[in-house]
């Protein structure tokens, strides 16, 4: 059964800096939804609100997993992850002094994930053959692209129902960006995930998206109900390039 995520009317701030202002986002079961917009517009903060890292001052966040509704506001990050919601954080945040394999195995810490450990590890190495070659190498010594693969693989090991990906393209060369985006799509199809991805690389993100939102200054500036709507929109260029 597919899982969905509904964010309604949330506000969040760091001290007096308002980062998110009345944002509502819905990700339906089996959808891939992208949050578009340049940095500093609140995409990451929205992800952090969902994961319980930042506490919103108003609004609700509800996840429906296997037919059960879970109110996420007020729960700890660990509890939210344990429900089956995984985040690939911005900047990847690997454990640099652990090997690739140790990083991946840490993903399978929660009970539900341990049961599927060997299958998920196989899938992971199948999706990213490069990681199988480097399984004994320290994660900190990998290149940016390889690190992103480990981060995605580690999230996969969590056996999530809903996958959040925050800025997967950061610091990657263009060709790796496109490969990373494809890998996310492959993971999604293989495990019937529900995906919410924050990404500033419009063209790449739109390749795998079903729908998308453009966030500017902490507000939803545009909601595209299809990729076409997003593509044929003059606003995008204005938001992105300030022209």
């Amino acid at each position: 059964m597919a899982s969905s995520l509904t964010v309604s009317g949330i506000h969040a701030a760091y001290g007096a800096v308002r980062v998110i202002d009345d944002v509502s986002v819905k990700v339906g079961g089996g959808e891939t939804v992208v949050l578009l917009g340049t940095n500093g517009n609140g995409k990451s903060t929205l992800m952090k609100c969902i994961m319980g890292i930042v506490r919103p001052s108003q609004g609700s966040i509800v996840a429906e997993i296997d037919g059960i509704h879970h109110d996420l506001v007020g729960r700890t990050t660990e509890e939210i992850v344990d429900l089956g919601i995984a985040l690939v954080p911005e900047g990847r945040r690997l454990f640099p002094r652990l090997t690739v394999e140790e990083n991946l195995l840490l993903g399978a810490f929660r009970k539900a994930a341990r049961a599927q450990l060997s299958r998920n590890l196989d899938v992971c190495f199948e999706t990213f053959p490069r990681l199988a070659e480097r399984r004994g190498q320290l994660a900190g010594s990998l290149s940016g692209g390889e690190q992103q693969m480990v981060a995605l693989g580690r999230a996969l090991m969590l056996a999530p129902k809903i996958l959040l990906v925050d800025e997967p393209s950061v610091g990657l060369a263009p060709i790796l960006v496109s490969r990373t985006i494809e890998a996310i799509d492959e993971m999604k199809k293989r495990y019937q995930l529900t995906v919410l991805m924050a990404e500033q690389n419009f063209t790449q993100a739109i390749r795998i998206a079903d729908r998308g939102y453009v966030i500017v200054h902490g507000k939803i500036a545009f909601e595209g109900r299809s990729t076409n709507e997003l593509n044929n929109n003059d606003l995008i260029k204005k938001f992105y390039l300030g022209l």
Binding site: V17, N39, G40, E167, P174, N201, F202, Y240, G242
Partner: protein
């Protein structure tokens, strides 16, 4: 070597790696005196690393940085500051146990006076007060940084960098999260400084701010410089568009 004499900052083939990650590659950049330069690029493109290499917080493995006619290689961060380089940090780093006034006092005591200009106690107070007034924090001069909001912290960060009386000021994302009018305030402040002869490099994600402030824009993507020129030209550059919108 044409035009070197007029260039305040001259970066030549600079490179920096972290483990297997190439943060900067072959960056060359000249900044003439009095310039208003906007440095932009997607997150993780190496902007902050570049600032850290220029200011001596990080050591670059390849290339050289020349400032005001002399090479900076081997100089520590505080020596570079005394030569006239100042920067604000992306995440404000106030001295938590010192009042705002004393926070401003540090660059006066350690940078301005190190250049040979002595101040009397009252002059120091006056200068500190002036710097705080510029950013509108004069009423909180005796407060500790923990009493400030994030916006005020950013202002303090800028005021403290200004107090070092730099020739080149690098403002690293000092406007994120600010309201429209606060952004205008800070831009006006930077323009005013620039008119007084300070060269400014502005690193910013708020495009509106960058476009209205900069006379020239440099774009970094994955540790490489992909564009350098007039703001309108740069933003219409297909490569920049690809970098931001993807390809």
């Amino acid at each position: 070597m044409n035009g070197v004499a007029n260039n305040l900052l001259e970066i030549d083939n600079l490179g920096k790696r972290f483990g297997g990650f190439v943060a900067l590659e072959n960056i060359s950049l000249s900044v003439p005196n009095g310039e208003r330069l906007g440095l932009i690029g997607p997150n993780g493109s190496g902007k902050s690393t570049l600032v850290n290499c220029i200011c001596g917080t990080l050591q670059n493995e390849a290339g050289t940085v020349r400032f005001d006619g002399a090479t900076l290689d081997g100089f520590t961060a505080h020596q570079r500051t005394r030569k006239g380089l100042a920067r604000s940090f992306q995440l404000p780093r106030p001295f938590a146990s010192l009042s705002l006034l004393d926070n401003i006092r540090i660059p006066l005591l350690y940078t301005v006076e190190a250049r040979g200009r002595r101040h009397s106690t009252s002059e120091v107070e006056e200068r500190c007060d002036h710097c705080l007034r510029e950013v509108g924090l004069q009423d909180k001069a005796r407060h500790l940084p923990r009493d400030l909001t994030q916006v005020e912290m950013r202002k303090l960060e800028l005021a403290r960098a200004m107090a070092a009386e730099p020739k080149l000021l690098i403002a690293d994302e000092s406007m994120a999260g600010l309201t429209h009018s606060e952004v205008e305030d800070i831009l006006a402040l930077l323009v005013r400084l620039n008119e007084q002869g300070v060269t400014i490099i502005l690193i910013e994600h708020i495009m509106r701010a960058v476009m209205s402030f900069s006379r020239r824009i440099v774009v970094l993507v994955s540790g490489r410089k992909i564009a350098d020129g007039q703001p309108d030209d740069v933003m219409r550059d297909p490569e920049v568009e690809r970098a931001y919108l993807g390809q």
